[in-house]
Symmetry: C2
Subunit: 116 residues, 2 copies
DNA sequence: TATAGCGGTATACTTTAGTATAGTAATAAC
DNA sequence: GTTATTACTATACTAAAGTATACCGCTATA
């Protein structure tokens, strides 16, 4: 299925595209994914990684990402407990999509600046 | 440049990705792009095409898309005037990105449902 | 003369997203 | 026993996004 076939199958098209948009929308989702892209991290580490995020937003977005199958949360029974967040394989594969978006963004900027 | 190289060149990465996100964000941009994907259309045609959009939002989003080099607005000197909106080449090439997003969305949904 | 279509704008409102600030329980270090 | 760290939650707020409703100037049609 492709975007150009939208006329033929609008429902699945809209749902799947929407799924993708949902996992990256909002101010903090991409920074969080970025922070977890190379290594699993703990709550406070992510917070230090993204200076301006409040714990409220980080908590909310991590829950959101977990619910959407993007992040795996593991609680370790240490004293005190520690919690680790890591991207799922599915989330890691989002990199390809982001590459495409990145590529298009660069090309588009060139097009616009050159007045085409 | 790729997403995995984010560490090496965060600024251009963030800007280009952000550009791409900006041209599709909000509730109405994709429906509008979808409406213009196969043919140029007039204001009222787009409105009929997207039943729940208000003229305020359509006007606002079209201006936004025009400013971002996604849409070309042509005024015809008929009586009364008529106005046509069409996608730029750059906007049309966004189809490839949307295809990737669509593909990932479908795969991700499968992954999540199968519990992987 | 009244009504409708075109391409919008104006004003006021609600809803959603994000921020600020403080506080929690548990433990450990000084 | 005071302070710090971890992993958050609670409450109250502001800002941004979107909605509802009405209206504009222009013209064509009934």
């Amino acid at each position: 299925m492709s975007f150009k076939e939208a006329k033929a199958c609008p429902i699945q098209f809209v749902l799947a595209l929407n799924d993708t948009l949902n996992v990256i929308n909002g101010k903090w989702k991409l920074p969080i994914i970025g922070s977890l892209l190379f290594e699993k991290r703990r709550f406070t580490e992510i917070q230090r990684n993204i200076p301006k995020i409040t714990p409220r937003m980080l908590s909310k977005e991590l829950k959101d990402l977990e619910m959407n199958g993007m992040v795996k949360r593991t609680v370790y029974d240490t004293i005190p407990i520690s919690v680790e967040y890591e991207l799922t394989d599915s989330a890691k594969s989002l990199g390809d999509v982001l590459d495409k978006m990145l590529e298009w963004g660069l090309q588009h900027r060139e097009n616009v600046l050159s007045g085409s």
